[in-house]
Symmetry: C2
Subunit: 175 residues, 2 copies
């Protein structure tokens, strides 16, 4: 997945609306066209761009009468992160993945991983999955807060580096 291309795609409101709809449910062209009130030709062109970029995939489903219907769904799992600070601009793409070290360094994640495995192995009831999911979402939120704190410390720091006198903002932050 090309970052520049992804930014170009996300810069278009209609394409964002299409992605929104397709993550809520699979749709075919005329559904998108009607709901977004945009001509089918334009919808098809947006879908083609996103399919070519690897964000979407089509699949066919049988209908009672007539030809199979062509649906689209989002075929990516990705997190794009844009960092814009006074002295840094970068864009990164992350794909979900499991680094073994993480399990050792973050006991809560290890705990959730184990619970999930127990369910997968049939040792625990599948009804617990919803609870595990909520716990994972909370953990995600905690990690986001932790990153915001690290970013806060980094922004306090960036004015001070290389200066003889500590930046006023740094002093103020620790008053």
């Amino acid at each position: 997945m090309d970052i520049e291309l992804l930014l170009d795609i996300l810069g278009n409101e209609t394409r964002r609306e299409i992605l929104q709809m397709l993550t809520e449910r699979r749709c075919y062209v005329s559904q998108l066209s009607e709901e977004l009130n945009i001509g089918q030709k334009a919808i098809i062109s947006h879908l083609e761009i996103m399919e070519k970029a690897g964000l979407l995939e089509p699949h066919f489903e049988k209908v009672e009468k007539g030809r199979p219907r062509k649906y689209f769904h989002v075929s990516q799992n990705l997190v794009m992160e844009v960092n814009l600070f006074s002295k840094l601009f970068d864009v990164k793409l992350h794909s979900p993945c499991m680094d073994e070290d993480v399990l050792e360094e973050f006991p809560r994640i290890k705990g959730l991983y184990r619970e999930l495995r127990s369910v997968a192995l049939g040792e625990r009831d599948i009804a617990e999955l919803e609870e595990i999911r909520e716990e994972l979402l909370r953990e995600r939120e905690r990690l986001t807060e932790a990153r915001k704190a690290v970013d806060f410390l980094l922004t306090q720091l960036s004015g001070s580096l290389g200066e003889e006198r500590i930046d006023q903002s740094l002093k103020k932050a620790f008053r």
Copy 2:
């Protein structure tokens, strides 16, 4: 800061290039125009859009002869996060901030916070700032890896929720 507007702005390659240049050093219009090989009128129009959105600010610096020169710099500290999963599309804006709870829950961040405070209070040498900065960047990386692991577990889960039989991919993930 409006998320839709930010996505629109970042969807334009020239504006991304301008942001890149301005985070590396402050620039005035003709510098941007020359380096990016784009007419001054177009540059001015991009700068206006980004200034109006609150991403940029101008400031004036005296020059030996003639009128003060108008420079631009990035006036925001923000992280934008785009989550695109098969069943979720959302975009979030984070501003760096320090939540007190984070310090209690993440001992490493607390340690770095304390070191930074010691320097700010003059108890430790300013030369240590560079080391603290590198440690903060490593911590940021660790937290990013942890989030990727949580996302991995969430993606494994999403196929299984609400289904009687555990999804094959979940079983595969824990083989």
